[in-house]
Symmetry: C2
Subunit: 403 residues, 2 copies
Amino acid sequence: MTRSSLTSGTTDGSGITSGTRDETGRATRSRTRDETAGPATAHQAGTDATPSPDASADGRRRAATIQDVADAAGVSRAAVSKVIRNAYGVSPQMRTRVEAAIARLDYHPRVAARAMRGATFTLGLEIPQIGNDFHSVIAEAAADVLADTPYQLIIAPIRDPQVGDQALQSLVDRQVDGIVAVAPLVSTDWLESLASRTPVVMVGRHDVSAHYDTVAGDDETGAEQVMEHLVELGHRRIAFLDIDRSRSTGKSYISPTGRDPHSIRQRVYREHVGALGLRPRLIQAHGHMEEDAAVAVREALGQTNRPTAIFAGHDTLAVGALRAVAELGLEASEVSVAGFDDIPIASHPRLALTSVDQQGYAMGQEAVRLLLQRLDGRTEPVRRVMPVTLRVRASTAPPRERS
Amino acid sequence: MTRSSLTSGTTDGSGITSGTRDETGRATRSRTRDETAGPATAHQAGTDATPSPDASADGRRRAATIQDVADAAGVSRAAVSKVIRNAYGVSPQMRTRVEAAIARLDYHPRVAARAMRGATFTLGLEIPQIGNDFHSVIAEAAADVLADTPYQLIIAPIRDPQVGDQALQSLVDRQVDGIVAVAPLVSTDWLESLASRTPVVMVGRHDVSAHYDTVAGDDETGAEQVMEHLVELGHRRIAFLDIDRSRSTGKSYISPTGRDPHSIRQRVYREHVGALGLRPRLIQAHGHMEEDAAVAVREALGQTNRPTAIFAGHDTLAVGALRAVAELGLEASEVSVAGFDDIPIASHPRLALTSVDQQGYAMGQEAVRLLLQRLDGRTEPVRRVMPVTLRVRASTAPPRERS
DNA sequence: ATGAAAGCGCTAACAC
DNA sequence: GTGTTAGCGCTTTCAT
């Protein structure tokens, strides 16, 4: 009933349509309308004949649709649609009327319905680990940039690192207008195919791609600076701490090109160590969390001829290393630790972690800006490499005893 | 081409459909049709050698729809729908055929289309600040619990704390099946109305609500333990560090009932300080970030008769306080710091922050579990309060000089 | 400038 | 057990 009163004004118009389709359509609508309200949605379907639903009164009323707004404003759905999209072809007075109705009914367009035809005004951010501060900074930057746009941000955390594409796919299924992905272990082929359909910006990978942009730090230079710094301090037993990637290779998710940040950092480490005629020492953590690193480093430091310096693949691991070092009562002159990313906590005086600043916040900003450009029509891929700076702090010091 | 080969065998079947609808449908399809099957998606479904795996060739094909799958499997859309929803009424052989077609076409149901009729199998998590480790832990727990379910998690960060309901509304617009919200500054009325339409679980608020569940720590006891601990150590000049909330009161978003965690913690602080006949000292940070706290504490410590202990509203602020304290070369015996939440970094030996453990991970888990229960039909509200434990660490110590 | 109508891809009712 | 069909709430031609 509510429905029929709402539509009554347009019922005649529907008669224009050809044949059965419309007729049944009308009939069914008034039927389903009410019951849709029913189940868990608790719609209430207030039967009052009031043309203007006054949504504020009742907390259970069905949410207003574009049709409700159109009826309330005495215009067509198309007109309302144009108003809410700021599209061309609406007179000021109509706009005013429609906006008033929207406000009155507290109308919010359903994103799902929009997705069926047009844009969702939603951008997806995919991050590998929620707890990693470097990723948080990127997310923060992304959210900040988007604050001045009509776009909303949704974040899809990766469940299982082994199936990094799941989170990405979930974003696709959700028909986001664009995606910023942070270094997931996804094959470049898959990415390329995805990017040919949806605007994509990859953060932290140096892929050479045809369809998506990349924003990455200068991992090569950063790792070089760390190694030069440690060597200059006098360290010779330098270990590289990273996640045990061997377990992931099974499904060959790892970028085989070695263009991911960690492969590069480790390669540079190996090169430097090799150039000095030293043997590489790898400390493998079983996970990406701080505690995983602490466990691995505790063990490594328990062995004889322990390293005097640890270069961690990223800061979260470095903080974990520092934990193990501190627990053992060791100082930087005994075991130095350097990281990568310069996460906010690294500069805390109690940690004073030497780290490579790759401007995470700027990277996040840039990634979203590039995505907005793509949304705006750009198609040629862009590869952005952020300059890095080594922040030397107290966690690295000359070794007490030279090896 | 690819497409035609796929449909060729079933084109006749499509003729079954009535009239123009189908005709245009076909037309559009063959036009846009091209590729979708992402190689790396690992769908591959062992059943190779089938006609039309291709897909890897072209990166622009339109994604497969349920109709494509139906055609490829030679069944109806409804049949496919039943298969993907695990619904009743599908013969094993049809299931097999359909699943093969799904794998072959790399079909993924569009969430938006689903949302128009049924469930989205998406749960939304709303968190106030992305960079706050306590929130990260909750998000992590939520993601972990959901890993064993068909539900996907999306996170909506709050843009502007002043308009906390925006992120929540965005989740609603997206028609998520349920929402976990972490202590946003939203009016209880609005929440109640929202919760009457969508399953909602609030984390960190002690609201007494009719339609949503709450999961919160025992803020009262936690704050009491902190104060008792500090007083017992001998502190008398105890300051409370929190965010300056006065600026937010403009739109009265703050829960007027004082049931939010920070109001409670501050109230307990005031009560204890009052009972000792001391005057309360408030240090107000201008934001929720560590640096905001550091700025405020730096200033507070510069004044004469500075506090000998600081009770921070939450750990991120506490870490910031510790930063200011450390910068000034002060130790716990000069300025003690205690926090709330016991975020992972708090236990780092270099920080050793005394804090109240309110089991953030368990809270996140419980919140999602409650939400799943609601999804399963429960409607009576549940209020869960997590027991707390004071973790005493080195950041608090007896004051060198008693005041 | 405005409105009518055709779907977008899916699920749910209902036929068979 | 399987297929047919009517929409969900929007955007978008295309008339007017």
